[in-house]
Amino acid sequence: MSASGYTRLSKKRALVLASLALALPLVVFVSMSLGVLPVNPIGLLYGLSSGQGIDPLAWAVIWHLRLPRALMALAAGAILAMAGVALQGSLRNPLVSPFTLGVSSGASFGAALAIVLGIGFVGTGTCLIIANAFVFALLATFMALGIARLRGMTPESVILAGIAVMYMFSAGVTLLQYVARQWELAELVYWLMGDLSKANWHRLDVAFLALLACIPLFKFAWDLNALMMGDDVAKSLGTDPAVTRTACAGLSALAVAAVVCMTGPIGFVGLMAPHLARLVVGADHRFLMPTSALLGALLLSTADLLARVVMMPLEIPVGVVTSFLGVPLFIHLLLRAGREIWR
């Protein structure tokens, strides 16, 4: 690549990052002003800047319901997307998502145990569900990594072990669904759909802690770039594939489990946001990671906004909207890309 080409690429990357970073507050503001209770966006903007003049009821709705939810969407979207990048890169496979290693099925199984049988580690009710989902999500990932370790942590072994674990926990969920009573079944089915309406300020604290847990992933950007060229090349460049893989999978699982245990499994973002980012800024993980994070946050918060307002007062499951929103965008970028995008 010529020097001027590289400059052009760098400029493009900076432009993409800057415009994504600007789009996020915009989406949050729109989320704050749209909903069943009408809020005048101009009045809201004026009220926010002057600190007065907002109807107390409208402000209560914004503060207690809309804002935590919008921020939760940002955090969850960013975490899922970053985990997706780390896992796709370290396992050198474009079909991998944060859920490939069993995080979501483990979390679902833990939640199902709590909902149907009331079995778990700590707490009761909602606490029990969250704690269970978190513990089993991590358990599933570490089982998968443990099995893969016996086969030298090759990408295939990690993925196959993950899929095996995933099927095992899914079977457990199906069994629990079968023995569940009516109420429990309804609660479980809604949990499995995944949604952000449970967001509140306390849960947001946890989500932002999880977001912090993702920061060490940036340290592996160069290692991931090396791994993309194959394990042997990576080794010759001083990267230990097994260590990188274990670290990326472990950190991702930790962050994703913290999100999924509160929101339920939200699919698509973790798989697609990295690809969208790759199509825009290329496969260099130093840029891919932040771009994916911003793109994931943008995708999920926009999707959740639409899920809330399209069929008011009914809410569409957010996973449905992310797919409807992301797939056309993805296909558009895929058809436009003139070169091989994966490398």
Partner: protein, 364 residues
């Protein structure tokens, strides 16, 4: 000196205290008199409240009398209409919003996913929902900042139906209407239960009750299982390990029920306003022609019935459903009971809409 005070029978301190008491008593008496005698300007009264224990076993304090209600369940909305409190309903679920008996108010989403903003916008005094759904974190916790209370009442179980009606009547200051409803419906219910209480176990009718999906039986813990028990029937799957067990055709033949009842869901056949029973005949024929079922006593004796959901199973429709089932199980014992009349009372007299439709196939 001391002796002198003693002779007066009173110390100086006591004298001062006594004088003070007199002054205070006079002033208080004057103030009291003034307050009673002269009606002052109307004092802004603190809103009255009432504290009740709901069906989730929690103490809930709500403004009294309740004037604005969001009903998150059809069953509670129907009971409100039956109490003559249709005007108090300010929000209703998506499922109930188009029902013929429903008031013309806004939808607040579904019971499983209530839209908190929509509830907040209609400014209710209370929200009524099931004892176990939605979870408090999705409802109470979200409504708490807005000062809206949640009362959890089921209205879908006979064991609690009457007490819940009484409580709802109290909340809305409609106790007379509540007692009238209870006396009629408890009368019907009590009559059915007392007549079947004398049945010996060997004389009880053995029933296969199938839910909305083929071969999904009503097991222990299901609403239908309870109705069968109250109607004096023996549920052949009362021993199942799960609520809605998937059973095999062969096993039903082996258990050989005297009566087969299948529940038809509203999506397959909407009973209200229906005049053509052809879709029901089709379902009915598919049941009696299931492989090997010609060996079952119920099929041999022509005792296979369909019961259509809708205006049954919720609120006092439960008692109407019990009456239908009791008559299907024991036509001789209940020769004088007319379930259609009971059901008509619910739909026409309680809900205020015409009684037209097909609920039982074949017709009694």
């Amino acid at each position: 000196m001391a002796r002198m005070y003693y002779m007066k029978g009173i110390t100086r301190l006591e004298g001062v205290l006594l004088a003070a008491l007199v002054v205070v008593a006079t002033l208080a008496g004057y103030a009291w008199l003034k307050a009673v005698a002269t009606p002052g300007p109307p004092v802004q009264q603190a809103p009255q409240t009432i504290t009740i224990v709901d069906s989730a076993g929690r103490y809930v304090t709500v403004p009294w009398p309740v004037k604005r209600v969001v009903a998150l369940t059809s069953a509670s909305a129907m009971t409100l209409v039956a109490l003559g409190a249709k005007d108090a309903i300010v929000g209703i679920t998506e499922y109930a919003v188009s029902a013929p008996w429903a008031p013309n108010v806004t939808s607040v989403g579904t019971c499983f996913k209530p839209n908190i903003e929509a509830i907040v916008s209609v400014k209710p005094d209370v929200v009524i929902t099931y004892a176990r759904w939605p979870k408090p974190e999705d409802l109470e916790d979200k409504l708490e900042p807005f000062g809206i209370r949640v009362v959890r009442l089921d209205f879908y179980k006979i064991e609690t139906l009457f007490a819940e009606t009484r409580l709802l009547g109290l909340l809305l200051n409609r106790t007379k209407e509540a007692e009238d409803l209870i006396s009629y419906w408890q009368g019907v219910y009590g009559e059915i239960v007392s007549r079947v209480s004398g049945l010996e176990p060997e004389n009880k009718t053995r029933v296969y009750f199938e839910g909305y999906h083929d071969y999904k039986a009503a097991g222990p813990g299901s609403g239908w299982d309870e109705l069968l028990r109250l109607a004096g029937g023996l549920n052949i799957y009362a021993d199942a390990p799960v609520t809605y067990p998937k059973v095999s055709a062969e096993d039903v033949v082996a258990r050989n029920p005297d009566v087969i009842i299948k529940a038809v869901s509203k999506t397959k056949f909407n009973p209200y306003g229906a005049t053509d029973d052809a879709p029901l005949r089709e379902i009915w024929e598919s049941i009696i022609s299931r492989p090997g079922w010609d060996q079952i006593t119920a099929v041999k004796n022509g005792r296979v019935y369909l019961i259509c959901a809708g205006f049954l199973h919720d609120s006092f429709g439960l008692v109407a459903e019990l009456a239908y089932i009791a008559k299907l199980l024991y036509p001789d014992l209940f020769a004088d009971l007319n379930p259609s009349e009971v059901h008509r009372h619910f739909i026409e007299d309680n809900l205020g809409i015409p009684y037209v439709g097909i609920w039982i196939y074949p017709a009694e």
